[in-house]
């Protein structure tokens, strides 16, 4: 088992066009570092030196990780992480 990460269209150039990739790690931070080994550059598109990038939303099992623990959010096998760009509603 691993953690499934759903990748939005605009970042699939970094995952050979794959919609979902798998990774491991105890926290989101560790998971993104693990993904970056196989998909170089991916981490940099999600995270900057201040934390999660402003226009990137990341959900752990559909809940926004900014309300869970940000990059330190605990993740475990079987979880689904969804990455989406921030879009307008209304």
């Amino acid at each position: 088992m691993a953690i499934e990460v759903r990748i939005p269209t605009i970042l699939r150039n970094l995952t050979d066009g794959e919609k979902t990739v798998e990774g491991k790690g105890a926290t989101l931070d560790a998971l993104f570092s693990d993904l970056d080994v196989r998909h170089p550059g991916l981490r940099d598109r999600l995270v900057d030196d201040k934390g999660l990038r402003r226009f990137v939303n990341i959900y752990l099992n559909d809940e926004d990780v900014r309300f869970l623990g940000g990059l330190e959010t605990q993740v475990s096998d079987g979880d689904t992480v969804t990455v989406l760009p921030a879009v307008a509603g209304g």
Binding site: P8, T9, I10, L11, R45, R53, R54, F55, V56, N57, Y59, D62, E63, D64, R66, F67, L68, T82, L84, P85, A86, V87, A88, G89, G90
Partner: protein, 317 residues
């Protein structure tokens, strides 16, 4: 309270809060629906639209004969179109092309001019286009629902107090996240009045087309958004929203728009958590509009798979 009003605009708000006896999990964990479809044009957006217009009139920005410009995926435009018609303003709406046909019909009926923005990029593109148009037409008045404090203020002054008056025992408030105006306004009001109240956002998760930006830095966060008002935020896939929209209709008789299904999905999640923790809960959520404007999307008929496929690429909230 009197139910007689001098005009349609004066009848804004004062919407019913109805219990959900069948969908509420226990006698101690109850769900309450705030029926915002019972507003003049049938959506919650009548409140911010009228507040934004009144503010602009008060500030002297909006004067007779003016043209209003607004980026909108539909409901705000429809509310503005009705109010503009009655008050003698012109209205230009910038709307993504992947919205339901009923929205276009309603806008045209009230005399609005529609400028379409491309489907890819969703409302982000509409916002970008509207800002360009505003720069080229300095005499047009862009109310700009995403950054206009009067949007959140409408909910702080009306929706929030109405809910608390009807449900003093409220523990959770759940609403859809678009401009963020409803959650910011009601959320701030309830936080001031009810210690420990939880404010929960349900954000629609669309098909991939809508997120088809060229660059992740083209993403958009409304200027009104203040993360500290929220307790948490859920992303609700279209399938879950459709399923809950149908449950609300079948179990409680409420014919709501698809975004309400997404909100109900989050509300039921919150309810299940309260049951599990052995806590009592009174959960109020917003029914943003009725289902009428979405009949053409096929959301209410056939199997869920079919409905989900038909909704792919559409802006359903």
């Amino acid at each position: 309270m009197t139910l007689r009003f001098d005009s349609l605009l004066d009848s804004l708000g004062g919407t019913p809060l109805v219990g959900l006896p069948k969908l509420s999990p226990t006698a101690d964990v109850r769900l309450w629906a705030k029926l915002e479809d019972r507003n003049p044009t049938g959506s919650v957006k009548d409140r911010p639209a009228l507040w934004m217009i009144q503010r602009a009139e008060k500030d002297g920005v909006l004067t007779p004969g003016c043209t209003i410009l607004e980026p909108t995926s539909g409901n705000t435009g429809i509310s503005l179109a009705m109010a503009a018609k009655l008050k003698g303003y012109g209205l230009v709406c910038v709307m993504p092309e992947n919205t339901s046909i009923e929205r276009r019909q309603l806008l045209e009926m009230w005399g609005a001019e529609i400028i379409y923005s491309p489907a890819a990029g969703g409302s982000n593109e509409a916002v970008r286009r509207a800002k360009e148009l505003a720069a080229r037409n300095p005499d047009w008045v862009m109310l700009y629902q995403y950054g206009n404090e009067a949007n959140a203020l409408a909910h702080y002054e009306t929706t929030g107090p109405e809910i608390l008056a009807d449900l003093p025992s409220i523990t959770h408030f759940v609403a859809g996240l678009g401009t963020t105006g409803t959650l910011m306004g009601v959320g701030r009001y309830l936080r001031e009045q009810v210690p420990g109240v939880q404010i929960v956002a349900a954000e629609p998760r669309y098909g991939e087309l809508v997120y088809g930006l060229r660059n992740i830095d083209e993403g958009f966060v409304p200027e009104l958004y203040d993360e500290s008002v929220l307790t948490t935020r859920f992303s609700v896939p279209s399938r879950a929203a459709l399923r809950r929209t149908r449950e609300l209709l079948q179990q409680e008789g409420i014919f709501a728009g698809i975004s309400t299904g997404g909100v109900l999905h989050a509300a039921l999640g919150v309810a299940a958590k309260a049951v599990k923790a052995g806590q009592r809960a009174d959960i109020a959520f917003i029914v943003a509009d009725g289902g009428w404007k979405y009949l053409s999307t096929g959301a209410y008929g056939g199997t869920l798979d079919e409905a989900e496929a038909r909704l792919e690429g559409q802006l359903w909230a």
